[in-house]
């Protein structure tokens, strides 16, 4: 590299006429360097998105799927999805699932991050152990939760029974199913919030706290006046990523309740899956339409984040 620079400098100084040609070659080189990422983006992002959009705008039956001659049907699939009696509940469940999960994940994650920021004995070890939910494959954690919450032989009901509480049908009652999957999802999401917020806390200079202590700020004041405001950029990205992750949570719900009983815990993600793969007769069109609605929701929050970021920078 160094040699390259050395040889090139005198050349460009002496021969000015050769410059445009070299620049155009440089142009191509630049594109060549860009090619891998462009190809990657097209193959793995643009094309699948286009296909999903295409699927949602055509009337796919099993027959036309195989033959590839599905007629264009405009927004019929979307109309069908919106008119479906399952749409309202699924939308509500998606919103409740996402926001309640995020609220608890963030609050508990922040509390733990502040707690661990004090680096006491064994704090690193404990913090590492808190990452366990993150390391577990979802199939393992979701099945474990399903066993624990089993109506008849689950440990949670056994524990409640110890205090004379009537058994709760966690996964099989329409009143509790959504709550149960939210509890499990909160547990899974805490480590992520903990890790990101903890690293955010490390970036806050200790002098600020010292100054606050000299001014006689209480612990509570230090948190609300210093930690919380200075953590705002990190919080924003944590919340945004959490939103996107939680919106599309599918496996956890599917393993624990299959979206049941009778749609009581169906979100857009499980609904979309059930359209496309959940019955003997796949309905790819409506399935793709619901998937696109999810993308739009995620996009909305992404734009919100960008606006927030811009305001923060001003």
């Amino acid at each position: 590299m160094a040699q390259d620079v050395l040889t090139r400098v005198p050349a460009s100084a002496s021969a000015g006429a050769g410059a445009p040609r070299r620049r155009s070659r440089g142009h191509w080189t630049a594109w060549a360097f860009c090619a891998p990422i462009v190809i990657y983006l097209i193959a793995f992002y643009a094309y699948p998105l286009y296909r999903n959009l295409d699927l949602s705008l055509r009337d796919y039956t099993v027959r036309s799927f195989v033959r590839g001659d599905a007629p264009f049907s405009g927004l019929d699939n979307y109309r069908e999805v919106f008119a479906d009696p399952a749409f309202g509940p699924a939308f509500l469940h998606t919103v409740v699932f996402t926001f309640v999960s995020i609220a608890f994940q963030f609050a508990i994650g922040l509390a733990l991050a502040v707690f661990f920021a004090q680096s006491f004995r064994l704090s690193a070890t404990l913090r590492a152990l808190f990452l366990v939910p993150w390391l577990l494959p979802l199939i393992v954690s979701a099945s474990t939760w399903a066993w624990m919450l089993n109506s008849d032989s689950g440990i949670v009901n056994a524990f409640l029974g110890f205090f004379g509480v009537e058994p709760v049908n966690w996964l099989t009652s329409p009143d509790w199913a959504l709550t149960s999957v939210i509890i499990a999802n909160v547990w899974i999401g805490i480590p992520f919030n903990l890790v990101v917020l903890y690293s955010g806390l490390q970036a806050i200079p200790a002098e600020v706290y010292e100054a606050a202590a000299l001014d006689g700020a209480t612990g509570w004041q230090r948190f609300w006046r210093i930690t919380f405001p200075l953590l705002r950029p990190v919080s924003a990205i944590t919340l945004l990523l959490g939103l996107v992750y939680t919106l599309k949570v599918f496996d956890l719900i599917w393993i624990m309740t299959k979206g049941g009983p009778a749609d009581a815990s169906t979100t857009f993600a499980t609904w979309s899956y059930r359209f496309s793969f959940g019955s003997l007769l796949p309905e790819f069109g409506p399935g793709a339409a619901v998937g696109n609605l999810l993308i739009i929701m995620a996009l909305f929050f992404g734009l919100l984040y960008i606006r927030f970021q811009r305001r923060l920078n001003q």
């Binding site: 590492a128 009581a264 793969f277």
Partner: protein
């Protein structure tokens, strides 16, 4: 000490992480055996897809496939998929004109694939289906044509725990209708044991388990909210309400429902032929009775089991060998081996008789299979999935208490009617 030595702390954290990670994954380094993709038209290689991933290269099933290939003068490349995965895999392969030569697929899927034009009919492929029991073949027939041949069949019956029934002084032979079954469940409950387990999960599996009761009431899938249909759902919800069946049935697959029964506290379990091998491992004496219908007699249970089908190929010259492969897989001797391996009942009378001669225990199952009915039969074909889904939503709603059986089935009928219009 910890505070003063950052290296120590990091090390400890890393060790804790590594240890937990290790414990959780079992520190395994094994990877799944890779499978190549799809058919290679060149050379004498024929592909077979089946839904029996539990069998590996050393199993009788795979050995049979290899032998059949050798007999036809070709090599066989076999891939086992998960059942739920296989339908989509088959559709995608058909879309890419990359279908396997032989596809062994769950019977209610046959009509869907046939409707999509993916399968050849048994007329085109010259497969002899004359010996096959008509009620089994019906699941693969639409518009008067058959699109495959059953490799064997399984169905549902009631397993019972002998000791529990003896203690409660119940003679299983007296259970002939719903009333006597419910009475038996109540007696068992009074003795401090549990009644019956089944699977009422919100998937096709749940519908499969509900159908014997639904059909046993005399109801028809074209009219879900008939008085008979409501009676069948009343039976299930009544059991749950009276504590004769556990609330967990709403989330039970047939496997988890079996595990509950195998734990030894339940008197009855509605389960399939395929659990026979596991029944011997439970450590208690068991027996099997057919599922009773409402007014007495054996209720028609749905047939399970797979069809051997031949997907359409662009190179029709391949059909000749495919015919030989299918004939080999379904001939009497091989069918006996296969059905014994899979713990299925054969699809032909002759082989059924051999099975009973070898193993008396199978008599109940042979009777049950004879009374059984395909889910896609009655010319329902591809309409069945659109009826099954509202049906499972209905029993989930009724069992979880969010709707009465009558209301739940009324909603289901409306949904099904508009979907199958």
């Amino acid at each position: 000490m910890c505070k003063g030595n950052p290296n120590m702390t990091t090390f400890r954290a890393a060790a804790a992480l590594a240890l937990t990670a290790c414990l959780l994954t079992g520190c395994s380094t094994g990877t799944g055996a890779g499978t190549g993709d799809g058919a290679d038209a060149a050379g004498g290689e024929y592909t077979i897809w089946d839904p029996y991933p539990q069998f590996d290269g050393s199993s009788d099933w795979v050995k049979l496939l290899t032998e059949c290939g050798t007999g036809a003068g070709v090599t066989v490349k076999r891939t086992g998929y998960d059942t739920t995965d296989l339908t989509n895999k088959a559709l995608l392969a058909a879309q890419q004109d990359n279908s396997p030569d032989v596809l062994i697929v769950d019977n209610p899927v046959v009509s869907t694939l046939a409707d999509a034009g993916v399968l050849t009919s048994t007329d085109e492929m010259k497969i002899d289906t004359a010996a096959v029991s008509p009620n089994l073949l019906a699941a693969g027939q639409i518009g008067g044509k058959a699109y495959g041949i059953p490799i064997g069949a399984n169905t549902l019956a009631l397993y019972y725990n002998k000791k529990i029934l003896d203690d409660a002084k119940i003679d299983p032979a007296t259970i002939k209708d719903w009333a006597s079954l419910t009475a038996a469940l109540q007696t068992v409950k009074q003795k401090g044991k549990k009644g019956i387990t089944f699977s009422a999960i919100g998937t096709e599996e749940g519908s499969f388990q509900f159908l014997p009761w639904f059909w046993g009431s005399g109801a028809n899938l074209t009219q879900l909210d008939s008085a008979q249909g409501v009676a069948a759902l009343d039976l299930w919800t009544g059991w749950l309400k009276d504590g004769l069946a556990p609330n967990s049935v709403l989330n039970n697959t047939q496997t988890t429902s079996w595990q509950e029964f195998a734990a030894g506290d339940f008197a009855f379990s509605e389960n399939g032929t395929w659990q026979l091998a596991n029944a011997k491992k439970t450590g208690f004496e068991y027996g099997i009775i057919p599922i009773p219908s409402q007014s007495g007699g054996t209720a028609p249970a749905p047939t399970g089991g797979e069809f051997v089908t031949a997907p359409v190929q662009s190179d029709t010259a391949r059909y000749a060998v495919t015919e030989k492969l299918i004939a080999c897989l379904t001939n009497a001797d091989n069918a006996l081996t296969t059905d014994t391996t899979l713990s299925y009942i054969a699809a032909t009378d002759a082989v059924q008789q051999k099975q009973v001669a070898e193993n008396k225990e199978l008599t109940v199952w042979v009777e049950a299979v004879k009374a059984a009915k395909g889910r896609t039969s009655d010319d329902l074909g591809t309409k069945y999935p659109k009826i099954s889904q509202p049906l499972w939503t209905a029993f989930q709603a009724a069992l979880s208490g969010s709707a009465t059986p009558a209301d739940a089935l009324k909603t289901a009928q409306t949904t099904a009617a508009s979907a199958t219009k």
